[in-house]
Structure formats: structure tokens, C-alpha cells
Symmetry: C2
Subunit: 223 residues, 2 copies
DNA sequence: CCTTCAATGATTGTATGGAAGTGTATGCCG
DNA sequence: CGGCATACACTTCCATACAATCATTGAAGG
């Protein structure tokens, strides 16, 4: 049995690829993009490209101008700050629930997750790092018995991730994030709600502190 | 100039209609539905029906079984409770922000909103009532300077609204909800954070209290 | 020189044909 | 009568054709 006997539809593959390219800023905000060129880029027809665009428009990563075309959305500071705020309130509530009780299985996976993430940080492998960063927050929600909280946070991250990507250009920042993850987990293990909330606040406000610099440095990426 | 010279794409119209029909339980959970019959139902081809299905699948209102078809999603008690919890944490944060400062324009629109909603409640017009219920929560978020909080809550409502629809079969319940809205607004006007949070908690837990009865009464609608 | 208007090109929105996949029913064989 | 293979019906998924809409360009007229 092969790993992936095809499994996924072309439209989904295109969507994932395109989302990744947008989040990594490989496709610059403000650039126009048509269904046709997405199709050509992937060796398929317009249809999968169209469906990918519709999906990404729901995440606000592209903006569809009716009857005219689509553009890669610029980073909105206002939306970013709102998304960060909402995310923080959700994750604090998750942490509070986690302090109350935590599923054993998720807890053990979190240890592995942190090890892998630290390895990626040391290797400077941002792609892998980000994958385990997501996994950390997802496992936190699952362990607290609130898996849906992660799906909400995941949507919010669309507004945050590109700025995050800009901010994490130096390797020591990656290791700091891992340390913050450990602090969050330690507070939850100790069932110390206020410590957990404080650790989360620190973790999520890293980016906001860096935001003015990013905006000054890359004015064309912001709206 | 006519009011709407067409304006919206067929796909969007189909999506809205289908979403409405699912939320109102006109289309029963568990029923299968194909692109073709959606198209026929609306006098269009399969394409708009397909796009509507994809959109609704993102809201988890339908479940797409790859290469096989789509079914109207059943109401998940687990998802409902998680969504209600996350929603409550978000709206409490919104209320807290609202106590701090509130945009004048949104505040004045809220008064109108409540009047209209009460009128709908007295007339027993559930459709209009629901529209102004949404508007109330949206204006709350906008007034607090967090319009994005509403978009998140709106997504969460997909998991909640059908049960809510079942619960509100008697007219006095509608008027109670309006009174709860007034209580929330009064607490915000008084800048009393804990009163606002308490009023919101009461408002949103109405449904949860009723949930066991609904599940017993309509077992086929739940998963 | 500026405004107006028609032609052109590009892009989306819609319809439809065809390929591939899945579950079911049917008929055959033991 | 039960188990198995094959054929069939149904659906999604992808490709492509067509129509409608919008921006741009360029020319004509004031």
C-alpha cells in the first residue's frame, strides 16, 4: 500500500499550495491572480483554481472583485489586532479549561510536539517549526476538550500568520517561542490559571510588539 | 435604476437560500442532497449548486463525502456545546471592551434594532426576529471596535442556530430574549462589566438548558 | 485640451460533457 | 440457500465552451 494513492482532489491540493504560497509571502499582497493562471501554474483547468480562490476568499487571504478578478489581500493591521485579541481570549479560556482537566493522550503528544518543534527551531527549519506550532495549539485545545476552539483559532491565524512570518527571520526568536510554549504547559501542569494566562499573553503579544517595525519596513505589504 | 438589477451571482443566491433552508430545518438533517437536485430546485445548472455545497461544507452545515455525495449535517451536541462555550467567551470579551468605550453610531442603531426586534417578537415573525438578533450581536461587536468578533461568532452560530430554531417555538420566549438584550445593553451603558457578563451568560445559556428536551424530542435530528 | 463614447481584451460566472470513483443490485456458481 | 463476481446506476470531479461584465484604449467631437 502506497502512502497516498491519490486520495485528495486536485482542487484541494491547489488550495493548500496556494494558501501556503500566500502565507509564506511567495505571492505578494496586492498582486492580481486569475483562475486561469492558477490552473496553468498547476497543470489543471480553471475549475480547481476557481474553487481554491473561493475557499481562500473565505479566509480573507484573497479578495474577489466580482466579475473582475482576484488580488492577494494585503495585511490589515486592524484585522490583525482584532484577530490577535479574539485569539487571545479564546486561548486563555482554553488554558483555563486545561487547568481544570486535561486529556492524558493529548498531554503525552504535547511532549513529543515540543521536542520536534525545538529540533526544527535549532535547525532553522521554519516550515516544520510552523507545523508543530500549529500542532501545539491544536493539542492544547483538544486536551482541554475543546477541539472546536482550534478550528476557530485556525481561521483567525490567517490574518496573523503573514506578519508572524515576517517577524521570525532570526533563529533565536524561534527558540524563544518554544520556551514560551514550555512555560504555558508548565503552568497548566501546575494548574495555575493566572500563570497560564500570563504566559499565553506574553506568547501572543510578541508579534504585536514587533508590528510597528514590520509596518515601517514593508509598507507595501500592508493596506 | 432598479433596486437590484441582478447584482448577486446565482451561486451566492443558491447558497443563501440553501443555508436558510438548512438552518430553518426545512431540509432535514441526514437527508442526502446532490449538486444536480440543487440546480434543478433553483432552475440553474449543477455549477452554482456545487459551489453552494462547498461553501456550506465549510460551515459544517453539510458533509461532503468525496466521490459519493453530500448529506445535511445532523446537529452535534458536542459541537454545539463547544461552539456555545467559545461564543460566550468571545461575547464576554466584547462586552468588556464595550463597557470601556462604545462607538456612538452603533449605540444609536442598537436602539432601533431592539425596537424592530420587539415588534417582530410581538408579531411572532421568527425570520425577522432572527435577522435583528444577528444585528444586535453584530452591532455590539462593531460598537466595541471589534467587528471581526462578529464574523467569528457568525461562523459559530452555524452549529447553534438549528437547535435555537427548535427551542423558540413559543412566542413568549422571543420576548424574553429581547428583554435579555435590553439587560445586556443596560449593563454596558452603566459600564458594569460583571453585570454585562452575567446578562450575556444568562442569554446564551437559555438554549443549553433546553437542550436535553430537544434531543429527547427530536432524536433523528441529532447525531 | 478635455470629455464622451464605442470597440477591444481580459476575466469571471454559468452550463454542460465526459471521466473516475463508489455503492448496490443482479446473476452465477457452489 | 449462501457467497462471489460482474454490471449498472449515481455521484462527484475536472475540463471546456459560451455568455455577460468590466477596464482600457483610442478616436471623435466640443
Amino acid at each position: 500500500m502506497v502512502a497516498k494513492p491519490a486520495g485528495e482532489s486536485i482542487a484541494h491540493k491547489v488550495e493548500r499550495q496556494l494558501r501556503s504560497d500566500i502565507l509564506s509571502l511567495a505571492l505578494p499582497p496586492g498582486a492580481r491572480i486569475s483562475e486561469q493562471e492558477i490552473g496553468e501554474l498547476y497543470g489543471s483547468s480553471r475549475q480547481p483554481g476557481r474553487e481554491a480562490l473561493i475557499s481562500l476568499a473565505k479566509s480573507r487571504l484573497v479578495e474577489i472583485l466580482p466579475q473582475r478578478g482576484a488580488v492577494i489581500a494585503r495585511i490589515s493591521v486592524s484585522k490583525l489586532m482584532q484577530a490577535a485579541f479574539v485569539r487571545e481570549t479564546i486561548e486563555k479560556a482554553v488554558a483555563k479549561a486545561a487547568c481544570n482537566s486535561f486529556h492524558f493522550h493529548a498531554r503525552s503528544r504535547l511532549d513529543d510536539c515540543l521536542v520536534e518543534q525545538e529540533r526544527a527551531a535549532l535547525a532553522g527549519d521554519r516550515t516544520t517549526f510552523r507545523r508543530f506550532d500549529d500542532l501545539f495549539h491544536r493539542l492544547l485545545a483538544e486536551g482541554a476538550g475543546l477541539p472546536m476552539a482550534w478550528t476557530v483559532v485556525e481561521d483567525l491565524k490567517a490574518h496573523i500568520d503573514r506578519a508572524c512570518c515576517l517577524s521570525l527571520r532570526n533563529a533565536e526568536a524561534l527558540q524563544r517561542l518554544v520556551a514560551e510554549h514550555r512555560a504555558i504547559l508548565a503552568a497548566i501542569d501546575a494548574r495555575d490559571v493566572s500563570a497560564a494566562e500570563q504566559a499565553l499573553n506574553l506568547h501572543l503579544s510578541d508579534l504585536l510588539r514587533d508590528l510597528p517595525r514590520l509596518e515601517a519596513q514593508h509598507p507595501d505589504l500592508f493596506e
